[in-house]
């Protein structure tokens, strides 16, 4: 039996099919406005069309309030929103959440123009890219306070080299986003951070448009602090990516680029420590070997060796001395022998002069003979032992003396002793 459903049931099924369908919600659609009407309720109704098709659109009052221009027929716009089923009418329509002037096509042309202009100014010059600080103390982040970006950066950086995080909350899409981003970059520059991450999470190219705007790009270029762009869009490079010092694909990647892995830093520290210890032990080894050389020179064993060496030198020297002296000694000895031989052969005729002088000496000796003095009338007085008396102090009255004269000796006894006064 066939199922029967009501019209309402059918349209309700279609509505749920549409709302689950991929690619028809959260999209930007470009086209031209026609039949634009604003109702007293504040809601706006219009048709979007291009050369081949058209669709009914609704922009509720809340969405209308978010755009700062008056949409009008024939205007080229891009609308963001999704398709929805209007069950009562059995028709579907596009619910517009926001609207921009100009189609995407126009915006790309503008972007290309801006890119060329900034490129000509050298803003994207690869030579201008600065190196990120190795160990930043404070990481500045310009992004939405509510988004996943700041969450990802805080979480990721918590696992890396320790650094403070300073967020400058910014509006990252819609009107005024680029002004807000530029203000955040300037604020962080003044706050004295070491590196700035500018970014937002993924989204359509429309969502990222603020990162293609001149104000954002110039603010990044003007930053005195190195910058990392983290605009979550893998396929398209925004101008922010081109101007930033480093481009990261995601906020997580940005945090990883900004901060080194703590473990790697520890490894480096360990390596420094190893080098330190190596050089010190090299030094102590060198000192030790120098000491050993000196120590060896000072040791008693060494001293003995040195004495032995010296005495060997002495031996050698004396040997040389003896050798050197042997020849002269022989010469002298030979000459002596010759001289002796010559002396033996001295003739008798050389002797008489010596005999004459001997006679003279005998005469002089004879003249000193005391007997000769006695012969001239002097006497010699001796004591009983025959010793000559030369002073009266050795004799007294009664002393027996001998008086020797030329021809004999007379013994006598002293009657009186008178000593001269002058002695």
């Amino acid at each position: 039996m066939e199922d029967t459903i009501t019209v309402t049931q059918l349209n309700t099924r279609v509505k749920s099919l549409i709302s689950d369908a991929p690619g028809v919600s959260d999209v930007w659609v470009t086209g031209e406005i026609s039949n634009f009407k604003t109702y007293p309720s504040g809601h706006c109704y219009f048709t979007m069309k291009d050369s081949g098709s058209e669709i009914r659109c609704v922009m509720f009052r809340s969405a209308r309030a978010r755009i700062d221009f008056q949409p009008a027929d024939s205007m080229q716009v891009a609308v963001f929103g999704g398709v929805d089923m209007y069950v009562e009418r059995g028709s579907y329509q596009f619910i517009v959440q926001t609207m921009r002037k100009g189609g995407i096509g126009d915006r790309y042309a503008e972007l290309e123009k801006l890119k060329k202009k900034l490129e000509a100014e050298g803003l994207f010059d690869i030579k201008k890219k600065r190196k990120l600080p190795t160990y930043p103390k404070v990481i500045g982040v310009v992004t939405s306070e509510a988004g996943a970006v700041i969450h990802d950066i805080v979480t990721t950086s918590g696992r890396r080299f320790p650094a403070d995080i300073l967020l400058a909350p910014a509006q990252v899409q819609g009107e005024g986003a680029s002004r807000s981003i530029a203000a955040g970059i300037d604020l962080l520059n003044r706050a004295g951070v070491d590196v700035i991450i500018v970014g937002r999470g993924g989204g359509s190219i429309e969502d990222l448009w603020a990162f293609n705007e001149e104000e954002t790009v110039r603010a990044i270029a003007a930053s005195r602090v190195p910058t990392i762009s983290a605009v979550g869009h893998e396929s398209d490079f925004t101008l922010a990516d081109l101007v930033a010092d480093v481009r990261a694909a995601t906020p997580t990647a940005a945090a990883e680029l900004a901060l080194r892995d703590g473990k790697e830093v520890l490894k480096q520290l360990d390596e420094e420590t190893r080098r330190l210890n190596r050089s010190l032990s090299y030094l102590t080894d060198r000192m030790r070997s120098r000491f050993q050389v000196i120590d060896a020179k000072l040791s008693p064993k060494r001293a003995e060796e040195m004495v032995a060496m010296k005495s060997m030198t002495l031996d050698r020297l004396s040997e040389r001395l003896i050798t050197a002296l042997r020849a002269p000694i022989e010469t002298v000895r030979r000459r002596l022998t010759v001289a002796e031989t010559k002396i033996e052969r001295i003739p008798e005729t050389m002797i008489p002069p010596r005999k004459a002088s001997l006679d003279a000496l005998a005469d002089r000796l004879e003249s000193l003979n005391p007997n000769n003095v006695l012969r001239r009338g002097y006497s010699m007085v001796t004591n009983e032992k025959g010793n000559a008396l030369t002073s009266v102090s050795t004799i007294k009255k009664g002393t027996v003396i001998s008086v020797r004269m030329r021809d004999g000796v007379a013994d006598a006894e002293i009657k009186e002793v008178r000593k001269y006064d002058r002695d």
């Binding site: 700041i150 650094a163 995080i165 909350p169 330190l276």
Partner: protein, 77 residues
């Protein structure tokens, strides 16, 4: 040299690298070498401390009528 305690990580690790190079180059006498070594070990410990005792701040900064103001930022994990 600045008081080690007040040195940042980058400054410290640069100074540490300098000292290692100085020691490796040789030409210092033993006393000088030991002094350099001592300082280098202090620097290394300081670096380690910075790495391991992180009490980082997570804050936001906003422009107000009285100039920029910082306040702590709560990030829900």
């Amino acid at each position: 040299m600045t008081e080690i305690e007040e040195m940042g990580f980058e400054e410290s690790i640069k100074a540490l690298e300098e000292m290692v190079k100085k020691l490796e180059a040789g030409g210092l006498d033993l006393d000088e070498s030991l002094k350099v070594y001592e300082d280098a070990v202090k620097l290394r410990d300081h670096c380690r401390k910075i790495l391991e005792e992180s009490d980082r701040k997570v804050q936001k900064i906003m422009e107000t009528a009285n100039g920029p103001v910082k306040e702590d930022l709560d990030i829900n994990d």
